[in-house]
């Protein structure tokens, strides 16, 4: 098998599984459906690992077109693959997490009537995500971008009978539209100014266009590179849920937990990060864009972390944690530490998928109760889930030597060294974020696994405030005599398999990925202008020493303080949070956080309401009267009228037909002989020529 065949096989294997399970799932049954999809993803993962190994052992990067779909005016719309170390790493992460989630799903969804549909969707997602990361041009990138968005939409609304789920998927879809609008405009600018959609050609041309300016409104000129990069980044803000387009991600938790792990934590939401890293040759050329990226990331990293503190739904806590971590990655991008962002992307994929799957396991153990106030003391009943959750949480808060520590500390180092104007704020945000992260992570951990066994008090029925699901789909909560139980092996196996990389991947990978030349010729950094990477490399070349050194740095003590605070608040003095709550309620902070900074309020009652109002006006006046009444029905009436006249020409009499032919022939003869012989004057030919061939 040559490499091209392998590259083709990697996305096509999951697609095949998705098609079989989706189209013929009704016929082949549950078992065959999960076998074929898991088989497809397993093949894909095995080959991805092979490709990564090939790259690590010095294999050539591949950049080639597989198929030209269409070609318009010299611009080709290709299906093509660019496989280098960045792609190979993403492929491995995507297929590995996807494989884990596939296996986990067997246990998590086994009661669900939409079993085959679910497997089909997640395999389709794997295909789309692979197409996205393997693209060598903007068209395929956009295809993958939209395809993962589509699958995300389908999966958030997987339980389509729940009004909350359909609301959430509509919200995700609409918010992503805003981002994609910017993304598409960015691609349009690339096409317009670079004249190509191929990565290699665009990147090669980027330095020439560094100082090009464009006029969007008369009197104002902007740097082309800044506008293009910011527009592309707007797309990333939608997909990677950056402030202020983050609002869809917490709601996306309406979907089944496996996809929260796969799509809304580990892979799809990181597509924006990946995209910016991929576009590093362009972003490097614009200080403005990088600064924008940095500030947006910093806002997301800190303020979304705050929201995690007050959540009571176990999945939402993890969701806000995801938002905050995505903010960290974005900060790294803004600081020109692209490889650090990608590194954090990778470690985060493992430990966040682990946390989500563990949360799912807890939810199963609790019989689909998601409220952490009803849990407690679960460590006795769910040993594996407990241990793996602890590993995930420790990795998340950046415990030295665990994977999250290396990536997060590198981000902090990079921000410290950054010279961009927004770096000061960003540094504050990421440091404060360390404390917040540790606090909410261990708040959840203590509430779930330690302390009193509160499900006894809650009894059968419970308040499920914001997240009331309809009761006929799943019965919620434990009965009076139930006990939580450990999940089956198909659920715990992925937890264990994900826990291993959460522990060690950072230690193993930091050297080559950050200090080595793993990303050489893939990610471009202008070291003179953006020195952030220098600082990171200095530490990263010795992972062991970096881990030891951490105990003497601020981030470690901030994280420790966060854990300690959580311990005090929720284990030692459970009355304390309520007291603090009352204080914060008085000054309105509590309300602000509960309302998520009023962002949803603003969007729904502001933009959406204004949009609906405008829509109503346009509908009543524009659509109903002008378009439907005048244009559609009017033109249809005209067309119908003309048609009724034209059809009368078809009399059925043969002599009418012959007559029409002869008249037609006569007209032709008269006109053309006349033109050629000059009966209508010498200008006639020219005049007809101008009429017929008028150029636009």
């Amino acid at each position: 098998m040559d490499m091209k065949t392998i590259y083709l096989l990697i996305p096509l294997a999951p697609l095949f599984g998705a098609l079989v399970a989706g189209l013929f799932g009704w016929a082949i049954g549950r078992r065959a459906a999960h076998c074929v999809t898991i088989g497809g993803v397993a093949v894909s993962f095995a080959l991805s690992a092979y490709v990564l190994n090939h790259m690590l052992s010095g294999g050539e990067a591949y950049n080639g077109t597989v198929y030209t779909w269409l070609s318009i005016n010299g611009v080709d719309f290709n299906v093509g693959f660019l496989v280098d170390t960045l792609t190979a790493m993403m492929m491995c992460v995507v297929t590995f997490v996807s494989l884990m989630v596939h296996i986990y799903t067997i246990g998590y969804m086994h009661e669900d009537p939409g079993y085959q549909r679910f497997f089909s969707y997640i395999s389709l997602f794997t295909f789309s995500m692979l197409m996205l990361v393997m693209a060598n041009n903007f068209v395929q990138l956009f295809f993958g971008w939209e395809a993962v968005g589509l699958v995300s939409y389908l999966l958030i609304g997987f339980w389509f009978k729940r009004p909350t789920a359909t609301f959430a998927n509509l919200k995700a879809f609409l918010v992503n539209r805003v981002g994609d609008f910017g993304f598409l405009l960015g691609i349009g600018l690339v096409l317009a100014y670079f004249g190509s959609l191929d990565y290699a050609e665009v990147f090669a041309k980027a330095p020439e266009l560094k100082d090009t300016t464009i006029t969007l409104m008369t009197g104002h000129t902007w740097s082309l590179m800044a506008v293009t990069c910011i527009l592309l980044f707007v797309g990333a803000m939608g997909k990677s849920a950056q402030f202020p387009l983050h609002v869809w991600l917490p709601d996306s938790m309406e979907g089944p937990t496996p996809i929260s792990a796969l799509i809304h934590a580990a892979t799809m939401v990181t597509a924006g990060i990946f995209m910016v890293a991929r576009m590093s040759p362009m972003f490097e050329l614009s200080e403005t864009a990088l600064n924008f990226v940095l500030v947006i990331g910093a806002i997301t990293a800190l303020f979304m972390g705050f929201l995690g503190i007050i959540q009571n739904d176990i999945k939402r806590v993890v969701a806000y944690s995801t938002l905050s971590q995505l903010g960290y990655m974005t900060v790294a991008l803004g600081a020109s530490a692209y490889s650090v962002a990608v590194f954090h992307l990778m470690t985060h994929a493992f430990f966040k998928a682990l946390l989500f799957l563990a949360a799912g396991s807890v939810i199963m153990g609790m019989h689909h109760d998601q409220d952490i106030r009803n849990m407690g003391g679960l460590r006795k009943y769910m040993k594996i889930t407990w241990i793996t959750s602890l590993i995930g949480s420790l990795a998340l808060i950046g415990t030295p030597f665990l994977s999250g520590f290396y990536s997060k500390d590198s981000i902090i180092l990079a921000v410290e060294a950054s010279t961009l104007p927004g770096a000061g704020f960003a540094q504050f945000a990421v440091l404060a974020g360390v404390f917040v992260t540790a606090f909410y992570s261990f708040r959840m951990y203590f509430l779930v696994f330690h302390g009193k066994e509160r499900w006894m008090e809650q009894g059968h029925h419970h308040a499920h405030d914001a997240d009331a699901h309809d009761e006929d789909e799943h019965h919620h909560g434990l009965g009076p005599n139930d006990k939580p139980h450990e999940s089956p092996w198909v659920v715990t196996l992925p937890l264990v398999l994900l826990a291993i990389p959460s522990l060690v991947i950072g230690y193993l990978a930091i050297g080559p990925m950050l200090a080595g030349d793993f990303f050489k010729n893939v990610i471009f950094v202008n070291h003179d202008l953006h020195p952030a990477m220098e600082a990171v490399i200095h530490h990263a070349h010795d992972a062991f020493h970096m881990g030891l050194h951490a105990f003497a740095t601020l981030p470690f003590w901030l994280a420790a303080a966060g854990v300690a605070a959580a311990f005090v608040f929720y284990m030692v003095k459970p009355a304390l949070p309520a007291a603090i709550d009352r204080v914060f309620s008085k000054i309105g902070v509590r309300k602000l956080l509960e309302q998520k900074y009023y962002m949803d309020h603003l969007y729904i009652n502001g933009f959406a309401a204004a949009g609906r109002g405008l829509g109503t006006v346009l509908w009543k006046v524009g659509d109903a009267i002008l378009i439907d009444g005048l244009l559609v029905n009017g033109s249809a009436k005209v067309v119908g009228f003309v048609a009724s006249i034209v059809r009368r020409l078809q009399t059925g009499y043969i002599y009418h037909y012959a007559f029409a032919m002869i008249i037609g022939g006569l007209v032709f003869i008269t006109v053309w002989l006349g033109v050629i012989l000059g009966w209508f004057g010498p200008e006639a030919r020219e005049w007809i020529g101008n009429l017929l061939y008028s150029r636009a």
Binding site: G640, A660, G665, F668, R695
Partner: protein
Amino acid sequence: MTWTSLNAGIALPEIFLLCATCALLLIDLFVSDARRGVTHALALVTLAITGVLLWCGYSPAPELAFSAMFVADPIATLAKGGMVLGVALVLIYGRSYAADRGIYKGELYSLTLFSLSGMMVMASAVNLLTLYVGLELLSLSLYALVALQRDSVNATESAMKYFVLGALASGMLLYGMSMIYGATGSLNVYEIGHRLLVGEGNRLLAVFGLVFIVTGIAFKLGAVPFHMWVPDVYHGAPTVITQLIGSAPKLAAFAFIIRLLAQALEGFAPDWRGMLIVLAVLSLAIGNLSAIAQSNIKRMFAYSTISHMGFLLLGILVANPVGYSASFFYAFTYVLTAAAGFGLVMLLARNGFEADQLDDYKGLARKHPWFGFMMLMVMFSMAGIPVFVGFFAKLAVLKAVVNLGMVWLAVFAVMMSLIGAFYYLRVVKLMYFDEPVNDITLSGGLGAKIVLSLNCLALLVMGLFPNYLLSMLNDAVVFSLPL
């Protein structure tokens, strides 16, 4: 003149087809009505072997035979391949339909194969007389086929109209050819082209001939105002014959146009371009507008054909290889689309029920979701909705027109397609959203159903991968045109 200088080998597919058809004609005399399947099978085998011979004989460079009366070039060979396929589909889809209507006879097969011979000769002829002979062989076979159902008033009436008007058009064409001969002193297409390009010959006479030739071509294509026969013949003829008329001969007409206009009358391109613009604009407008007013699906298809031929002309009038190959692609894909459309009509027809009213399609998708979906694909492709091949055919033609600078014409064509989308989508609406009025049963054997499904799926697959065919046809045009 000797056997070797005849170079008859390159006409092997035609020679084989003719011999096999004669043999079939005789064999069928000894086959009882009950065992007509033998004739059917032999006809299909004949087509298969003809196809294989075409495949084996493909040569990228034009080769002449029969004293430069006959050429085998890629345009001809590919067009013939399409014709063989189109005719095979007619025979496969039409079998049970013909059996139900008493026209499941040996003549159905022999005449169909003779018409195919005529088409193939048209595609390969480079002499005005050979062109004419091919055309007449096709036309006469079709006249007889339309009248095959002798006790049907509609069929005989339409055969009569077809015959009389066809004779008139043939007369005009022949008259035009004689003028060209008079003007240039040659019957050979290449020779005429050369002499007119260098400015030899009587210009007035040649223009006279040109007008008549365009008239004849317009009739054969069914372009407005020479289109009047199309709806009546499509409607009156048995559907199996309608499918024959509506599919493969369009490719023959394309080749015919290439020989006459692109090769023989190349020097008059600005003049015939003007005429084709008039024809195309009228065809697009009248075809689409009239189709809306139809309640009979065969008549609707007839008017839709007229508008499609308008598109075909748009590509031709660009008068460069890009335009020609766009038209070639259009004709090629149209053959498959039309075959699928009529195949589906026949699938729904049964003894005593033609399934030719639009209302007969109400609720089809609910009763037979698979074939409802197939019909949907055909309609989408005809309407030119992306992903289906019809879109790329239209796109290729419009691209060529825009490149020429005639934006207004492209815009007009798009507007007319928009109107056209209405009546295609109306069928989809009837199938998917209306309650069935008749009970819908499917006729036809499993084989026909499978081939029909593949045919429809091909519209999707070719839309996903249009480039293979498009570049193949483009190469064919580029290799064939100069000699």
